[in-house]
Symmetry: C2
Subunit: 229 residues, 2 copies
């Protein structure tokens, strides 16, 4: 099965959570919009009657006739097929629940720099972003870190939500280097998980390749020093 991933080609964004699973499993996939002419192909497909009704937004994945959207839903679908999820229903629901909590966390990371509207520029909401960033650093970031640190006490067999947690640590280190430097010593299990994931042979290759886009100020994780406290 050759999978087709459709996502904006200039950022890691939500697509990266899917890429990490595909790359870790050594799956056969095409990152459609990053090929020449691929962005046009994605936009045309979203407007075509072949996808009727279309997904609300990228990322979406084509697997033969099936089109699946919403990052956590794509991972729910892929997890079983790629050997990155438990085989029993209770385990699958648990990992999906973690992934949905990561999705909530990720959206809060985004809204730090876009508290007023996703359609406005950061520069149009800088003042509000400063206030939201303070609340994020002081309340929300430790709350999510506490939660996942406690989850890692008992959750050991690797699954796709762990790959996503690696990405959260990577992104947070990029966006909030000062806050993370201060907080990380309290979260040894998360740091250890991050290191363990980064050493997985296929991922280590992927992370060193050109397929791994750099973080930047168009993505979800953005480094604005004034938001880092």
């Amino acid at each position: 099965m050759r999978y087709e991933l459709y996502y904006w080609p200039m950022i890691q964004g939500r697509g990266e959570f899917v890429r990490l699973a595909l790359e870790d499993a050594g799956a056969d996939y095409v990152d459609v919009a990053r090929r020449a002419g691929g962005m046009d192909k994605m936009v045309k497909l979203m407007a075509s009657p072949r996808l009727d009704p279309p997904p609300f937004a990228p990322p979406f994945l084509r697997a033969g006739e099936l089109v699946v959207a919403q990052t956590a839903n794509i991972l729910l679908f892929l997890g079983a097929r790629l050997g990155l999820a438990p085989k029993n229903e209770a385990g699958r629901l648990w990992v999906h629940q973690l992934q949905l909590t990561i999705a909530d966390w990720l959206l809060e990371v985004h809204d730090v720099h876009h508290p007023i509207g996703a359609g406005l520029y950061y520069e149009q909401q800088k003042r509000e972003a400063r206030r939201r960033a303070a609340d994020f650093r002081d309340a929300r970031l430790p709350k999510f870190l506490d939660y996942f640190e406690s989850v890692l006490e008992s959750d050991t067999a690797l699954h796709y939500a762990h790959l996503s947690l690696f990405q959260m640590v990577e992104g947070l280190r990029y966006a909030f280097p000062r806050a993370m430097k201060r907080l990380e010593p309290e979260y040894p299990r998360l740091v250890q998980l991050h290191d363990r994931v980064s050493r997985r042979p296929r991922l280590r290759k992927y992370l060193a390749s050109k397929r791994r886009l750099p973080f930047n100020r168009q993505g979800i994780f953005r480094h604005y020093p004034e938001l880092d406290g």
Copy 2:
């Protein structure tokens, strides 16, 4: 199977999306935290080693030994059991995808009155809320309404995401009566779906009962006239 639903007893909130499915299906369930002493029971259960690791937040559902959290995940689990989801995998993923898009929409409704931080009072972020509300009414609300109106062109057999869309229309009418009065004529399929769901025999009884909490200013949908344009 007697289900146990755990959710904050003073608001409809996210729990309501689960209640609507349970009520529509005539399922045997207990709304634990709304019983005498139930709130203590919920808080104790979340801290107990029986739930280790616990969910990040309510709502969560107990079904025998299984505990499932995250609203969309609970509905994914219940949908198949209550006859409120397609039987094939493609259909189940599609309905879950819709539910996740509704979850995104619901969070944006919440963040209209809490753009800076969920832990702060509305009164501490009124100025920012006004700006966010303008963006929500002008850009985000029509975008989501457009999307679900187009989905309803082809999506006809009733499933749990339709019950959630009913709740979105109800909540938006309560929170943004002026904006909805202006917008609704453009969305006849959504209005028709709302009416169709509200007439389902079990739901009609439920909606008229004391089990249906009223909307209020502690919930996700809140009516502040200054945010309604």
